[in-house]
Structure formats: C-alpha cells, structure tokens
Amino acid sequence: MSDPLLRLSGLSKAYPGVIANEDVSLAIAPGEVHALLGENGAGKSTLVKMIYGLVRPDSGAMQLSGAAYTPATPRAARAAGIAMVFQHFSLFDAMSVAENVALGMEDPPRLRDLATRIRDVSQAYGLPLDPARIVGDLSAGERQRVEIIRCLLQRPRLFIMDEPTSVLTPGEVEILFATLRKLRGEGVAILYISHKLAEIRALCDRATILRRGRVVGACDPREVSAHAMAEQMVGARFGAPLRTPGETGEVLLSLAGLSLAPLGTFGTALKDVAFDVRAGEILGIGGVAGNGQDELLAALSGERQSASGSVVFCGDDISRLGPSARRARGLCTAPEERLGHAAAPEMSLTENTLVTGAERENLVQRGMIQWGAAEAFARRIITAFDVRTPGPDAPARALSGGNLQKFVIGREVLQSPRVLVVNQPTWGVDAAAAAIRPALIDLAEGGAAVVVISQDLDELMEISDRFGALSEGRLSNIRPVRGLGVEEIGLMMGGAETRALAHG
C-alpha cells in the first residue's frame, strides 16, 4: 500500500454505559475504496463522526497525510479535505437545489455561477441533477445527489458515505457506484459504510470489520467470501442458551401474509411476513436495523392496521383493531424508541403508566383517571425493576436510558400480557439487560408468548427458543435456536437462507 491518506491509531470513545469504539486502528490510501463493515451498534457511526469532527475521541490519534489531525468541528474537517454524506439528508424542501448547495458553503458564489458549477460537476460525474429544481420534488436518490455534489464542490481528498444505498433503487445504486469508481480513479479515497456484503464485494478494495466497537478483522472483500465476512461481523461464538425450551402450549399469536407499506421515507415495507408463537415460547427476530423491525412492531401494537386475517390473536382476527383494544385482549408491545414513542419525555412516570396501562390496570374508570392507582402502578414498576429515579413524579426525560428502558419494559411485563412483543429491549443499555432478560424469560415460563425483536444476536441466542431474521421486510423461515450455526444465521440475515440450506 502507498503512504496512507488517513491513519487512525488506537481510537477509543466511550459513552455512559456503552463503549462505542475501543482501540480502533486503520489506514486508508488515496484512491482506495475502504469499506467499514459491521452490524448496527458496532461503532461505525461513532468512528466516522470522530473523523468528521463531530465527536472527539477519548484517546488515540489520527494522521492526515502524515500530519497530526484533530478536527474540532466538521468545518475543520471539511477544510482538511474530508467530506461526508449522511444517511439522513439536511436539505430544505422548499428551496431549489442550487440554494440548498449554497447554504452549506463557507462563502457561496452567485447563484447563477453556482448553478453552472453544479451542472458541470453533475455531468462530469454522471449524476444528472437540475440545479433549478425544488428539493421537495426530488426522489430520495436525487436528494442524495444534491448532498454528493455539495461535497464534490469542495474537492475532497476523503469522501465518507454512510449507508448510501439504503435509500436508492437498484438503478440508482449503479449510477452511484459509477460515480464512486470515477472518484477513485482521480485519487480520492472513499470510506464506505455498509452492512450489505454484495455491494462491498462489488465496490471496495479493502474492508475493516467492526464488532462491538473493536476491529475484528480486515480483508480484501473481493477475495474473501461473503460467508466469512458475515461470520466476522456477527461473531463466531455465541453464549450457551440461558434456558432449555420447555413445554409450549397453544398458538397465541399468528401472522399470515402480513404486508405493510413503509413508515416514512426511510422505512421498509413488510412483505408477506408469517410466524406463529406459542404459549411459553420466546421467538427471537434478528436482522440489521431498518429491515422492517419498526413496521413489524407497529403492525403488532395496532399503530398500523393491516389486511384482515393477517394478525390473529388467540384465534381472533385483530388486524383491524387499534392499540387500546389489542392491549385489552392481552397483546402488549414495547417499541424501540424509549423517549417520545414508548414514553412522553416531559411527563412524569405516573402519567406515563397511562400510555399503555390504562386498560389492563384499570387506571381509568368511566373516563376519569385514577391517579392513586396510576401512581401505585408506577411505584410497583420502580420497585420490581429497580428503576433508579427520585420517584414516580420524575419526568421520563430525567431517567438514564437504562432506567427508562427498565420502566418501559416493566410497565408491559407487570400487566401480565398473554403476548409481549419488544423491539430492542436492551439496546444501548448493557447494565439494564441483566434485569430485563430474566423478566422476559420468566414471563414466557409463566405461559405467555414473547417476541423479541433485536439486533443483538448474542441476546437472541441467549434467550430465544426459535429464531428468524428480517431482511428487507421479509422474514426468513423460523428455526430452532439449538444447533443453529453462525453461517446459517448470517445467511438468514442476508435473506438467502432457504435456498442455500435446502441441501445442508
């Protein structure tokens, strides 16, 4: 390898309760497309945020072209020749392409000159884009082009792209790859973040694989199989299952042919999802974030209603029922986003019990709120789940992530649901996991059916009896966890398991 453009040595960054990066070292050469590969939460975003000056490392050093590089702000990073396209765009819908580009510039030229330059760059790199169009009318792919051109106008030496293809159609992906190859030809280094193995094999020269904040491998993706990369990404060793599957009872929740349009611009449509969960069983659903987990939870909670017959609870079709009616029957859910979705940040814990507890805990009678009962329920959750808080009057926002998560899960578990569906029960709250996982297992052993949606495969292997993976809105076949190998899991997460394993 020639002299590296950017060298990272021993970068570490910790947040309260979570180590985002630990001793990460890597080097990127000019003209190299370098993949940063890892599951969600592996620390990819934190790493690039450090490179882009958004986050300051706790320890370690960075060198750019051999000189020490310590960007204090994204502006300093841009001045050093580093540009970044984020997964979520920062564009104003009501303004034109040229106006949006001008907004991001240090000292923008006259709009007419800028439009000419945008047109030149867009032609040179094969990214068709009309500078006069209003951003609100553009597709997601075209919006991404605005961001890319905004970066290219700075003539960057290192170009960082965070999961760029998640919003693109296959045709747009091809156009993007052509642009990136052209940039590589000009000597620009590209740091490409993704978890899509096929893309990385098609585009990248080198890959660094992160897992739990550490570098676990580096390879040439063109020479190593996708299996091998998936194995490194997922981790080759799983903890022994915490429990042995016990007797299971009748089917409590059954999905059949569940299809649903995506939630928002960055959502994923659910396609023909089907599974059964029985009393006493924990079903783990894995998959990389953004493959339909939020949609699946919304379809089960009742926030989104689906076609008749697609969600059946204890033999009754509940597809068209809203959240309250489903809870009253005994289907409780806990979404991933703690603040703002599972709980209202500004409201007290007592008030937050009413978000889901009103029906099953009789907190509302003839329309009147029983504040005494609500407070008693809040106290019961606080005691049972060891929630560290000054008391039930504290607003949800004042709790740490782990304590709020214990509250949110506790609120559902203590309602003794017949079926509990949780999305990311221990996400980013390692310390709280010790309280949450046993509670889920106890609930199942008490005869409830539990569905755990998680990106933490270790967690799923530890607590679930059967496992399936979501990939681009489709659910793989459900398989018993016992005897499930890493390679099979990797393939299930890639959406290709049934064909490849038919003979294995």
Partner: protein
Amino acid sequence: MLRLERRATPSKLWAWAAPVLAVVFTMLAGGALFAAFGTDPVLAIRTIFWDPLFGEFAFFYRPQLLLKAAPLVLIALGLAMGFRAGVWNIGAEGQYIVGAICGAAVALALYPAESWLLFPAMVAAGALGGWAWGMIPALLRVRFGTNEILVSLMLVYVAEKLVAAMALGLLRDPEGRGFPGSRNLQSYPSAHNAEIIAGSGVHWGVVAALIAVIGGYVLLSHHVRGFHIRLSGAAPKAARFAGVIPARVVIFCLGLSGALAGMAGLFEVAGPAGQITIEFGVGYGFTAIIVAFLGRLHPFGILAAGLLMALTYVGGEAAQAGLQLPAAAIQVFQGMLLFFLLAVDVFTHFRVRRIRVREA
C-alpha cells in the same frame, strides 16, 4: 461567556414566576413608552392597574372587568386545550363572530317571542355556530393536511365580511330607518343577557366562564381525554402508541374551542354589545391567545390572566380618556405582555451558565 443550558426538568418556580415577571417588565417598558409620549409613567401605570380596582370610581370599573374577562376566559380555555395538543386555532375571533351571528339570528327570527326557552336556544345556536366555523379548519386539516393556523386565521376575515353583510342585510333592524345593525337585543327581554344581579357585571357569560374553568380543569387533569390531549402535544408518537387517533384530537379541540368562542360571542351580542353591527368583532379572539399563554394553558391560570388582561382593557380605556394616550399605545402594551412572557419563559426550560472560552 454566558450559555443557555437545558434543564433536566422544567423549573416549577420559573413556570409560575415567568408571568409575574412578564407583568413587571411590561410595566417598566410600558412606563418608558408612556414617558416617551410625555405622560407621567407612574400616573399612567396607576391609572391602568390600580384605579380600576381601588380608585375613586372602582364601583364603575369593577363590573366592567368581569364583562371583559368573561369572553376572554371562555375563549382562552378552548384555545388552551388545542394548544396543549399542538392544534393551533388562531381563528377564535371568527368563531366568536359566527357564534354571535347564529345566536342572534335565532332571537331575531322569533322576534318578539316571549319564552324563557329562547335564551338557552340562543346559547346553543351560538355554540353550534362557533363549532361549525371551527370544524372547517379541523376537517380540512384531517382530510387534506392543510395548516389549521392559516385556515382558521383566514376564516376570521371571512367572518368579518359575513357579519358586515348581516348587519347591512339579513339581520338589519326593519325599524332602523335603514341604518346598519340589527335590533337591539337589550330591549328584547327574552333574548337579553342581562346582569343577574344589577350593577355587579355578572351576566350568564361570567357564570359560563366560571363553569368552563372548572370543567376545563377536570378535563385536563382528571379525564382520560384531557390526558390524551396533553399526550398528543407532548409526544405525538407516544399518543398514537397509546391508541389516540390524531384526527379525533384535532376535531375535538377545534370543535371545543369553536363552541366556547361561539358562546362567548353570543353572550356578548345578547348582553354588553346588544346588537350585530358591522364592527362587531373587537379582537377578543386574538387577545385570548395571549390570555391562554399568560395563564400557562392552565384553567386557573387562564382565569387570573383573563382578569389581568381585562384590567389592561378597562384601565387602558381610562388612560385613553383621562391621559389622552393613543389607543395603539394600549395595544402595544398588551402585545408586550406576550413578548415578555415568551422571553422570560426561556428560563423555565433553560438555565444560564457562565463558561470560560477555550482557546481554539
């Protein structure tokens, strides 16, 4: 260097100190304004804030206070429900006018009826008229995603044209020798919203405002629908997760605030105003927005804020008459109240921290 830092929890002290401080700042800035007009600022502030309550002619001003405060409180209560839910009804003035037209129309259509049933029917018609006017922005938002701020505001101007057309046409007094304006309801006993105790200023609108304050408190603090309203405003996603249907909240809030504003309009036209005139709307619907925020969107706070705002009206008129202050100066004064409230409110959610500037 000073820096604002978000508080972990909003300060309860500041939440209630802010309105008081805003009043103090308004007095100071208003005093400076009056001084610039060449009026003695102490005298002006005393004329506005003290004399109507405790001065020589307080017996005349005190009933006036209740008459002005009643519509403000009634309207502001409805608005506060919506503001809590993130439903921004800015067009209460229009709902107030349409309520007055509908209520008065019932009385005028049945002229000269003599029945105790007439007045309740007028109140119902007023509420219904305001409700219907509020349903226009509600349904447009729910059905087409229009912005209720713009639609409700624009409907105020429609309502103003409508009331002018009514005063000149359909509702014009047939015995009025061609002058614009309806029959005077004050001389129509069954329809007159007279004082319940003569000279006290207490008419049915004051009673309704007090009932609405208590009802609003129960709804917001003890009823599940009020909780859903607050949840919708505080965390819309959590509200949907709880099973709240956002469209129903929009319809409920705009309907309720429309009905209360419509009732306020009816009590006004049947009482202090007496008749439908071209210039019937005098801005209660807009001032009520200030009242709602000054009262922290809390029913009891709104009651206090409504009385305070009524004081600036009554005292302002006295200052205009006695000190020759321009009417616009009084309006600036009321605007300042909201301005200072919003400014001081920052400290409810933020604290000021002194930080040392690091060398970059």
